[in-house]
Amino acid sequence: MPDLELAAAIPTKAGGRFFTRFTRQQRYMHAVLFSTFLGLAGTGLPLRFSESIWARGLAKGVGGFGAILFFHKFCAVVLTIAFLIHVKEIFQRGIANRDFGVFWGPNSMVANWKDAKDLFGHLRWFVGLGPRPKFDRYAYWEKFDYWAVFWGMIVIGFSGYAMWFAPFFAHFLPGWALNAVLVIHSEEGLLAILFIFSIHFVNTHLRPDSFPMDMVVFTGVESEEEFAHKRPLEYERLKREGKLEARLGEAPQTWLINFSRVVGTIAIVIGLTLLVLTLTAYFS
């Protein structure tokens, strides 16, 4: 019987087609990114708000401060490796393989004039002043998410390593920079936490179109109607060029959907809990 329930939970009509949006490697990258991010946020927040009531309890819960610092550094190293792999991929695709679509065009994360128009068009649609813009493969808020994380990892990563290896970094950083790195690290970390756990969660997962979560980043595929609705430009372009079939994927396995739901729910619950803790500490 559980099979029937799960089948009913799959968000598509029977016999519908599925199209690939994310490769296996991209999905793994997202999994590494969000699990290390949760780890970093969970161990970083008690430090940022070390005077708050829950900070000491949380620190004790994971085995005292030594353990918190260890987990924080461990997650940081894993995320750094993931980041370096990603950068290597970009260079490989964009420079070694001369796939310039990485840098511009509809498949690129680089912002373009259309993104600016889409932003204003979207805002006008919010207040009923115009039609809903048609988005391509990556919408402007998705590009913002990407670059926010990209910039965030450079800034938080650099400032974090500067604190970790302060005497080494002191060889080429001025004295005040050692003070500044903590401010930068904690403020940028706070921004990342607030942004991901409120804006990204709602924009990508909790908004009515995707509620309660967008499974595409877990399963890699989405149904044809979802594809056509969310990214009509890409859908129509691929159809026109006859490339749609090349993107055809398999319907996700029930275990994968089930597993993704559990993992996704845990991530969202942890994230929202940390968001509440952050806000209470920030405003108390």
Binding site: A59, G64, P167, A170, I199, S210, K230
Partner: protein, 419 residues
């Protein structure tokens, strides 16, 4: 028999009375001990006298009309510091038998005049709860303070004082602080109870014994001005260091705002300073005066790490500034003098160099004049954070409303998996 009784009545009734007069005269010259010895030599029949009294009072079940025990253990009394005394050396009104049922109260001060005068005017002086026996125990079982059976033997002193100065004792009744448990858990208490160190500070090492004064009394060894000297009577080197530092000098010049030993170490719950608990509690103590320094310290990684507990290693005030010989940064001997910073920071940060020690452990990111670079970095980060969040919160809320509106209005027209 009758002759013997008459003789003993005469002997004990008259002779000691004469001696007692002598004793009174001699007491002020402080040689009552000598009197006791004289008495011992001059009165060979004293054992006989004890035996006479013990004939009745040796019965351990003997009680007076109020049901109070009036029994005396002759063996223990014989061993005690007063064991060589005749009974009526103290119970002076009893001259023979039968004797009155209500003997006159024994006055210790008739022999121990110095102690009695010291007690007068002390915190215990007026109290009815504190006759000599409160501390020294029953008059018949008093031992010299060098004897481990004595209530005032150094290792027994805290327990003796603790009978009143603890939670369930007289402290509760009189609203006194319950210091006994704090003391027993302190480094002094451990040294005394676990190691049996006779030199470990016990109550009377700091408070004195007979002439205990309130700490508000300028003459009290526990008065704030006298604390360094009191602690310094054992901790001589630390006292020297302290007196060389700014705090010691301030106190010596009469500035009582400056901390003395007990302000940082507390009086009774003194912890080993390397202990995590002490490292956790000490920073706010310095900060209670140095408020601006505490608030800027709170902004640093040192504090953030440190306040979580279980990680006592991060720098606390005295790790950098020193503890007892507290010197201004301008003093070349100060560990926070520019010339010494590499060594001071290097205690924890291996590889600390001249550039590394440019780090400001008390930087204020809100002070544009003092830390301009940090000020603008913080300002930029705050503006970035506020603007990104403000924009996207508005964006997301509008989007949510619009998407939900479409969903309800057009039912399935908005598409999506939930449409």
């Amino acid at each position: 028999m009758a002759n013997a009784a008459t003789f003993s009545k005469l002997y004990f009734g008259l002779l000691p009375r004469g001696l007692r007069r002598m004793g009174k005269a001699l007491a002020s010259s402080g040689i009552c001990a000598a009197v006791a010895v004289l008495l011992l030599i001059a009165v060979p029949g004293r054992l006989h006298a004890q035996t006479d009294c013990l004939a009745c009072h040796g019965d351990q079940t003997m009680q007076d009309a109020n049901g109070q025990s009036i029994a005396v253990d002759g063996k223990t009394f014989g061993d005690s510091v007063h064991g060589t005394q005749g009974c009526n050396a103290c119970h002076t009104t009893i001259k023979g038998y039968p004797h009155p049922d209500q003997p006159v109260k024994v006055e210790c001060k008739s022999c121990h005049a110095d102690e009695a005068s010291a007690l007068t005017g002390s915190v215990h002086g007026d109290s009815k709860d504190h006759p000599c026996t409160s501390c020294h125990g029953s008059a018949h079982t008093i031992f010299p303070k060098s004897d481990s059976r004595s209530n005032v033997y150094p290792l027994n002193v805290p327990r003796t004082c603790g009978t009143c100065h603890s939670t369930d004792g007289m402290a509760k009744k009189h609203g006194l602080a319950s210091v006994y448990p704090s003391y027993m858990d302190s480094i002094h208490g451990f040294a005394l109870s676990k190691e049996g160190l006779l030199v470990a500070a016990n109550c009377q090492s700091c408070h004195g014994s007979h002439h205990i004064l309130s700490r508000n009394d300028p003459a009290s060894p526990t008065n704030k001005a006298n604390i360094p000297k009191t602690c310094g009577s054992c901790h001589a080197k630390i006292n020297d260091d302290y007196m060389n530092g700014v705090h010691g000098k301030a106190v010596a010049s009469g500035n009582m705002k400056a901390p003395v030993c007990t302000d940082c170490h507390t009086a009774h719950s003194i912890l080993q300073p390397t202990e995590a608990a002490f490292r956790m509690q000490s920073t706010p103590i310095c900060g209670s005066c140095h408020k601006d320094k505490l608030s800027t310290y709170r902004d640093t990684f040192h504090s953030q790490l440190g306040s979580l507990g279980g990680y006592g290693e991060t720098a606390r005030c005295w790790d950098c500034h020193g503890a007892h010989e507290m010197l201004p940064a301008s003093d070349p001997r100060s560990p926070v003098n520019k010339a010494n910073l590499v060594a001071t920071c290097g205690k924890c940060h291996a590889g600390a160099n001249l550039s590394f020690v440019q780090y400001q452990p008390h930087a204020n990111a809100h002070d544009r004049k003092l830390n301009p670079a940090l000020y603008f970095v913080r300002l930029f980060m705050n503006i970035l954070l506020a603007s990104v969040l403000t924009f996207f919160v508005i964006h997301t809320i509008l989007w949510l409303i619009r998407a939900r509106y479409n969903q309800i209005k057009k039912k399935s027209a908005d598409g999506g998996k939930n449409a």
